[in-house]
Symmetry: C2
Subunit: 123 residues, 2 copies
């Protein structure tokens, strides 16, 4: 629903697969289509068994908030279990990966700056 210049979305939209596992999905919540001028909000769902392999973005930081479930998060050489209300900041250039080792989906927000080029290096 749009209200003047504002926008409210309730519920879930179309989720796009984000890797070859078929178990990880992403939905852009507030992005180019919504006219976001500086940064984009995306929601990721990692089904049980999903793994997003280690990678880094040379130019792009992540600001994340875990909504549901539990994830093993790799950050550089460390790993940590995150769950609901965990807050994660991943600066540009930091290697990171995710794995859902639980029986429930894990859901988190991941915000990124608006950029012309979204570079990813797999490591």
């Amino acid at each position: 629903m749009t209200f003047g210049g504002g926008l409210v979305k309730i519920g879930w939209g179309k989720q796009e697969p984000v890797d070859d596992s078929g178990k990880a999905f992403m939905e852009v919540l507030i992005g180019e289509a919504e006219g976001a001028p500086h940064f984009y909000m995306r929601r990721f769902v990692l089904e049980p068994g999903a793994r997003m392999a280690a990678h880094r973005h040379p130019d792009i930081e992540h600001e994340q908030y875990v909504l549901q479930g539990r994830l093993v998060l790799g950050l550089d050489e460390r790993e940590i279990v995150v769950g609901p209300d965990s807050i994660v900041f991943i600066p540009a250039g930091t290697v990171h990966w995710y794995e859902n080792r639980e029986k429930e989906p894990a859901v988190f927000l991941c915000l990124v700056p608006k950029t012309a080029e979204y570079r990813t290096e797999w490591v």
Copy 2:
């Protein structure tokens, strides 16, 4: 906890009051102190009865995600009830206000661009 360049926070930190009602609070989750280069993540808590009066930011958009509770949100001349998993985009210049008419706290994320000057106009 810091990991290389990354940062993970679990749980709740210090909440600052954001209005005169004494019922609305804000915590910066990822901001200047965390080295966020482009945009900041804040978490708002509106206790029952809290109201944040109508205002607009001429230069600053909001990207919001409701985590908990229920809020009446005013956007320009309209109002809408939002709750968990509601997504709200408020472009710069759009008048907005919030009111918690329920018996439980309402909690939402509100992300804003990093800016030298955060202007607010009460209307």
